[in-house]
Symmetry: C2
Subunit: 404 residues, 2 copies
């Protein structure tokens, strides 16, 4: 009789956002007249910008014309997009990253879930706590995380790096040596940013200890302050220890279009083995490229009009973030984030647990957020709100929270 | 120091089609004046049909309008597409398959590469020989295949099921019991089809032996003969042993648009563990859904106009297949396939090896095909040509081959 990958059965419960979706739809069914405002999952609400829509229409027309039809894309992405990325996202910021080190994909979630495949089965991972669930869950599925303790909500073979009020939610260097370190800045879920000096310490630590950093920079476009690096490659020597993952979802609103990329520098070696070559092999074997029309839409994000549209969309959401921050602060909540990131991280009031506060907000304000404990034990007692709603809904949500 | 997944280094050479691409581009560079005709990789040449193009434009317009914008898709696919698939691809053919058993994805290659993750590390796989390289390579990366013997071109822990002239290229039931059996019919690369009676024997074997069949039906639309099943669920009791993978690439020409799906029936259990639930969990954790606009394009393939367009595209390619078959037969080649599949499988002449014939055709006729040995040891001495060229190029290729 065939047997399954038993690691799957170790995963406690379902994926966080699926659980939330089920709770919300149960509430909606029981209360069909209530208008729910979703500030939970990090999905955008603004439509795609005019330059993106035009690029899509143009590319669709090409696909209907024999002379300009595009079949299978190059596994690693079209050169027209990879070159724009390397130049504008990196070299213009002084980072040494080349087009052939960019791997275009259908999104940062897939890449951050799949990247662990390149590493040995007994690789020890370190994650921030709280943390985006995909990093840990994908390693659970691969059997790297040991046993789960339902009381503490932790895995025996994972190094947790607490992100707390005390350290500004940016984590301390771990005491135990990890092989693989997942960092996400600006951070999901806390909204914290990391300074360049501090990030340099992580890079130095990884190089000194033979560790690899998976740097998730999906929220880079939201950085508003100086001295916050947009890429880990702004730090010296990051090319020998860091992989960076980027997304078009949160800057250009491609959550429903699916486009992201991963940078694997050619200097990132394990003895003779090149992680760049390995990732290329994985793309070649298990992936078939992002759609041509979506890659054309990605390309236009680097035009003057495309960049202007992104700035406007980001400004729209950051206006929400500012309103949520100030509104909640006025109401007496303790809040952080929302300055270099579209997430606001708030302390639940009156010692409520994260899920208690979730139910409380859903039932009394019909507002959906994300329980901090869903992101890890140190998220308990916190709650994430996103700035991705419409202005109207964001203000309405604040007014309802004020009312309860 | 971190360590890599050493299984990657066991993979001999690069992915077959990457090797071919490199050889062709070296030849082109050395001979810039030669017009190369590609009948190698199975990429389509006809543009997307008018109904698909219209559906894409409509969906793009929705994405530019706040009221109709679509962000993250449901992990498993939109209901509008899953319901059409279940009804038209399955229930109208008498197969018991439901919408919530359909998992929409960005293509059959990803699904056939990822599906092995659901199974135990020591799962024993059986594959046809020759075979589409992704099935074996993805299991090599997962460490299941033992050691590679470069002389025989086989892995010590894989059960090979020879597909030869003698068994009509449809393989015999294996003598050693496998856990996981990969079958692809109509077959890539041989173009062979399997009758319903014969496929029923595989289903019965799998049920009796506690094995799972991964049934790759990407070429289903090319079936022209009666008594050739379009789905494995046409066979009795397939719901307890079979997963089916489908593609929009070869029927509707979505190679550059990326859409496919996998059926995991809810009856497919391993004790208490449901493979359906596991695959849903994988989608939820490591995938973020196929683009809304592409799913709308998939939906229109089930309209009357969409189905008519698919029939016309398939007929166009099958006219090529018939020409290649008859042309090569006239020239004295021994050919099979091309009746229920867009692939023609020919014996190389004069005892040439597959790669010798590849070079011979490339240099003398400037025609690119795929060496049979690239698909496995029993492919040695064979060569695959695809019917996916234009009529003009197909006829021109035949005329050039005739001339050498």
């Amino acid at each position: 009789m065939f047997r399954i990958n038993e690691n799957y059965s170790k995963l406690p419960g379902s994926y966080l956002f699926s659980t939330i979706a089920k709770k919300v739809s149960a509430y909606k069914e029981a209360n069909p007249d209530k208008k729910i405002i979703r500030l939970g999952i990090g999905d955008v609400t603004l439509p795609l910008s005019a330059p993106v829509i035009e690029a899509l229409h143009r590319a669709v027309d090409e696909m209907g014309d024999a002379e300009h039809f595009h079949g299978y894309a190059p596994d690693l992405g079209y050169a027209f997009l990879r070159e724009k990325i390397a130049e504008q996202d990196f070299r213009l910021r002084g980072c040494e990253v080349y087009a052939d080190e960019i791997f275009v994909s259908d999104g940062a979630k897939c890449d951050s879930g799949n990247i662990q495949e390149l590493f040995a089965a007994d690789t020890k991972i370190a994650v921030c706590d709280p943390v985006y669930p995909v990093y840990v869950d994908s390693n659970v599925m691969a059997g790297r995380t040991g046993t789960y303790d339902p009381v503490t909500g932790t895995w025996s073979n994972v190094i947790y790096m607490p992100c707390t009020e005390e350290n500004g939610f940016t984590a301390e260097l771990p005491k135990e040596r990890p092989d693989l370190i997942y960092l996400c800045f600006p951070n999901n879920p806390t909204g914290a940013a990391i300074t360049k000096d501090r990030l340099q310490k992580w890079v130095d630590y990884a190089n000194e200890n033979g560790a690899v950093i998976i740097y998730d920079a999906a929220y880079e476009a939201y950085i508003s302050e100086q001295n916050i690096p947009h890429s880990i490659y702004e730090c010296a020597n990051a090319r020998t220890c860091a992989i960076e993952i980027r997304s078009f979802s949160k800057n250009a609103g491609f959550t429903g279009l699916r486009l992201g990329y991963t940078v694997v520098p050619k200097d990132l070696m394990c003895g003779e083995a090149s992680l760049h070559d390995m990732w290329a092999r994985r793309h070649g074997t298990k992936y078939n490229g992002a759609p041509y029309i979506v890659q054309r839409a990605g390309e236009v994000c680097y035009s003057e009009q495309g960049k202007k549209a992104i700035r406007e969309q980001v400004a729209y959401y950051m206006e929400n973030a500012a309103r949520i921050r100030s509104g909640l602060t006025e109401m007496g909540y303790s809040v952080s984030g929302g300055v270099n990131a579209p997430y606001i991280w708030l302390k639940t009031p009156d010692g409520m647990s994260s899920w208690e506060f979730f139910d409380y907000l859903l039932q009394n304000a019909n507002v959906v957020g994300t329980p901090g404990s869903g992101f890890g034990p140190n998220g308990e007692g916190y709650f994430r709100l996103t700035a991705f709603g419409t202005h109207e809904n964001t203000l309405e949500a604040l007014s309802r929270i004020r009312g309860i």
